[in-house]
């Protein structure tokens, strides 16, 4: 129980990556595979923010004149994750555009049936 209380954030992030990888590897419908891709991205962003956390830390905003700068959390992973979230939505939009184009051509969304590049 003590192990659970100390590592609950890690279990959440890695559980999400595990479920996302399982969906990408073993499912047949194209839209479900893209949902799994979104889960992997969310899990990795959560893991990056967990690394930058300090016990009893505060957010890095100097709103009052004298705040203790030794008690603040790490600001560099937050800046990188901000960029990663916005890029993920662009990738998901482009992937769904490709799925719509594929559906118009093949009339099915099963990846076992869309085989071969036909000229």
């Amino acid at each position: 129980m003590n192990f659970l209380y100390q590592n609950i954030y890690y279990i959440g992030a890695f559980g999400l990556i595990f479920i996302g990888l399982y969906i990408v590897a073993a499912k047949k419908n194209l839209i479900k595979i893209i949902i799994g891709l979104g889960f992997i991205s969310t899990g990795i962003n959560l893991f990056l923010i967990i690394i930058g956390y300090i016990k009893k830390g505060t957010a890095t905003i100097f709103s009052k004149p004298n705040l203790n700068p030794a008690q603040m959390v790490d600001p560099v992973p937050q800046a990188l994750v901000l960029t990663a979230i916005v890029i993920d939505v662009a990738v998901l939009a482009l992937a769904l555009g490709l799925v719509i184009g594929l559906y118009k051509h093949y009339k099915t969304l099963n990846i076992r049936k869309i085989r071969g590049l036909k000229w």
């Binding site: 799994g36 959390v73 799925v99």
Partner: protein, 83 residues
């Protein structure tokens, strides 16, 4: 601490629900719930900028884009058992 454990368990149950259901609309809404709980966890990890970005971009716009894509293709997954 009990509250955070509760939230993580609900997030993992939501992800498993999105894996199992055959109705694609329910799977897209379960993905939205996972994004929302991830945004709350970002707030508890003292990162308010990232929480605001994940809530507005992940929970609102990604779910809307999925619903538009489902509208233009099929709604139900096939259930034949072939490999």
């Amino acid at each position: 601490m009990i509250f955070i454990t509760f939230l993580v368990i609900i997030m993992l149950i939501g992800a498993i629900v999105a894996c199992i259901f055959k109705d694609l609309l329910s799977a897209a809404i379960a993905a939205g719930i996972v994004s929302l709980i991830a945004s709350i966890l970002f707030y508890f990890l003292q990162a308010p900028d990232v929480a605001m970005a994940e809530a507005s971009i992940g929970a609102a716009l990604t779910t809307a884009i999925f619903v538009f894509a489902i509208k233009k293709t099929e709604r139900y997954e096939e259930n034949e058992k072939d490999n």
